[in-house]
Symmetry: D2
C-alpha cells in the first residue's frame, strides 16, 4: 500500500489546486499529531481540535480551514455539529466518574450566523445532571466573538466495560 | 510545499499503524475524486458521499471507514449530523428553483442506535414547503436496515447572488 | 364555596361577551364529563380530548374552540404542544407493559401552518423503542388535512409504583 | 344559554369532588379577570399568568393548581410548553417595534425535573436577534429554585396588519 499512497500524493499535488495542497497538508499534519496520542478520533485529529475544561466549561477551538468549509467557503453545518457534540460530550465525560461513559441521545442546533473567520470556539456548559441523563448547552463563536450556533443535547450515562 | 507534503506522507506511513494507512489512502482518494468535479466540498469528498434524488427522497450513502469513527469504532455523532444536514440540504436545493438557495436554520437529531456496519444511508424527505422556509425529515440507516438516527431540520430560502 | 361559585358564574354571564359564555359552557361541560371517568387530567377534560389507538397510531382529536386560541383566533402553540405530548405519551403508554410508565424527557415541535378550522387531529407513531427510552413522532392536522405541526419526542421508561 | 350554564354549574358542584370545586373556582376567577383586559387569551387567563419584562428577561409566574396537573399531580408537560412559548413570545414582542409581530416556528424543550410546588416561574432571554428571525432561550423553575425545563425556540418576524 505504501507505494500506492506515495503515488496518489504526487498525483494530487501535480493535478490539484493550491487549495488542494493546503488541505492535504492539513490532513497529513492532523494524522501525524494523532500518532502522538494513544486515544482520540481521526475526526478530532483532522479538525485539529484542542479541548480544555476550565471554569465549569469545556472549550474546544478549531482553526477554520478549507477542509471544513462548504462550496461557499462557510463552515459546514455538520462540522459545527461535530464541534458541538465533541465539546458537550467532553464536558459530560469530564464530570462523570472514571467508570462511567455517556452517549449522545439527542442534539438540537440553532444556526444563527455564518461560520467565517480564523477559528471557531465552542463552549459547553451544564444544564442538568441526573442519575441517568445529563443535559448540556453548547455555543459556537467566531474569533470576533459573534455567536454562530447554539445547541442543547442530552446524554445517557452508561457503565464503562 | 510539495516536498514537505511528500516527506510528511512518508513519515506517517513509516511511523503509523495499518489503520493510519487505510485512513490516509481514503483521504487521498477522496481528494483525487474531488478534482474531477467543479463543485462540492472537501467534507463531501472525504466522506466519499454520493447523493441522488429519487421517489421524492434525497439519498446519500457513505462507506463506514475509520475516518468517521470515534475511539470506540462507532460512527461519530457529528458525522451522522453532517450526513443528515447534507441529505436534507440536498433535498431542499433539489426542489428549489435555480435562482434560490437555502441555509439550515436549525436541526434536531435523535440518535437511536450505534452507527456500525459497512455503510450508512441517509434518506431525506419533505415535511413542509413554505414561501420562506422548508422543513424536512432525515433518517440514517445501517446496511442491515437498522435506523440509527432520526432528524428534522428547517431551512431558510434565500436568493442566489 | 358553593355560593361564591354560583355568584361568580352569574357575574361572568352578565358582564361578559357572548364568547365568554361559550367558553364557560365548554369548560363546564369538560368538567362534567371528567366526573364520569376515574382517571384523566383536567387539561384533557377542558380540551375535550378523545384518544384512540388504531393501525399502530395513537390519535387524539380536539374541537377548535375559543378556549384554546390566542388573541388572533389561532390555536395557541402551547395547546398544540399539549396535544402532541398527550398523543405521543398515549402511544408510549399503549405499547408499554402494565408495570411500566414513561415520562417525556424532550420534545421538539416545528409549527408549519396556523391552527384554524373546526378541529385538530394529532397522530402519533413510533420511531424507536429501546429498553430504556422510546422515541416518537407526532403530526397535527386541521380538519381540511393541512399539516400544522410536526414533532419528535423522547420518553424515559420507568417502573410503576 | 344562561340558564343552562347556571344549571351545569350547580350539577358540577353537587356531584363533583372538592378538587372539582377548586378547579371550577379557579376557572371562573380566570375568566372574570380576563374581562378586565381588552386583550389576552383565555389560556393565559385560565393559567392566571402574569408577565413582566425586567433586566433583559421576560418572566411569567403561574400558580400550580390542579387545573394544570396530570393524573399524578405533576404539572402537564404541555402546560410547561405553553408557559415557555408564552414567555419567549412575550420577550420577542417586547423587543420588536410596534409594527412587527412574531410567530413561533419551532420550539424544543428538555424536561429535567417534575413540576411540583406552589408556583412555576418561566424566564425567557435572547439568544439571537436577526432581521427575519429571533432565537430565544427559556427556563422554568419551581418556587424552590429547581430547574424543571429548558427550552430554545425560533420566531419568524412578520408585519402587523
Amino acid at each position: 500500500m505504501k507505494e500506492e499512497i506515495m503515488q496518489l500524493t504526487e498525483e494530487i499535488i501535480s493535478t490539484g489546486t493550491e487549495e488542494d495542497q493546503v488541505v492535504l497538508d492539513l490532513l497529513l499534519k492532523g494524522l501525524k499529531q494523532k500518532q502522538h496520542f494513544d486515544k482520540g478520533s481521526y475526526i478530532g485529529a483532522l479538525l485539529h481540535a484542542d479541548g480544555e475544561y476550565k471554569d465549569q466549561e469545556f472549550t474546544i477551538t478549531i482553526p477554520n480551514t478549507p477542509i471544513i468549509q462548504n462550496a461557499l467557503h462557510i463552515v459546514h453545518g455538520g462540522i459545527t455539529a461535530t464541534l458541538l457534540d465533541s465539546a458537550m460530550g467532553g464536558l459530560v465525560h469530564h464530570i462523570l466518574p472514571p467508570d462511567k461513559a455517556a452517549v449522545t441521545t439527542e442534539i438540537k442546533i440553532n444556526y444563527v450566523a455564518p461560520g467565517i473567520g480564523k477559528e471557531l470556539t465552542c463552549k459547553a456548559s451544564l444544564i442538568h445532571k441526573g442519575n441517568k441523563t445529563v443535559v448540556t448547552e453548547g455555543k459556537v463563536y467566531r474569533d470576533d466573538g459573534t455567536l454562530i450556533a447554539h445547541s442543547t443535547a442530552s446524554f445517557f450515562i452508561i457503565n464503562r466495560k
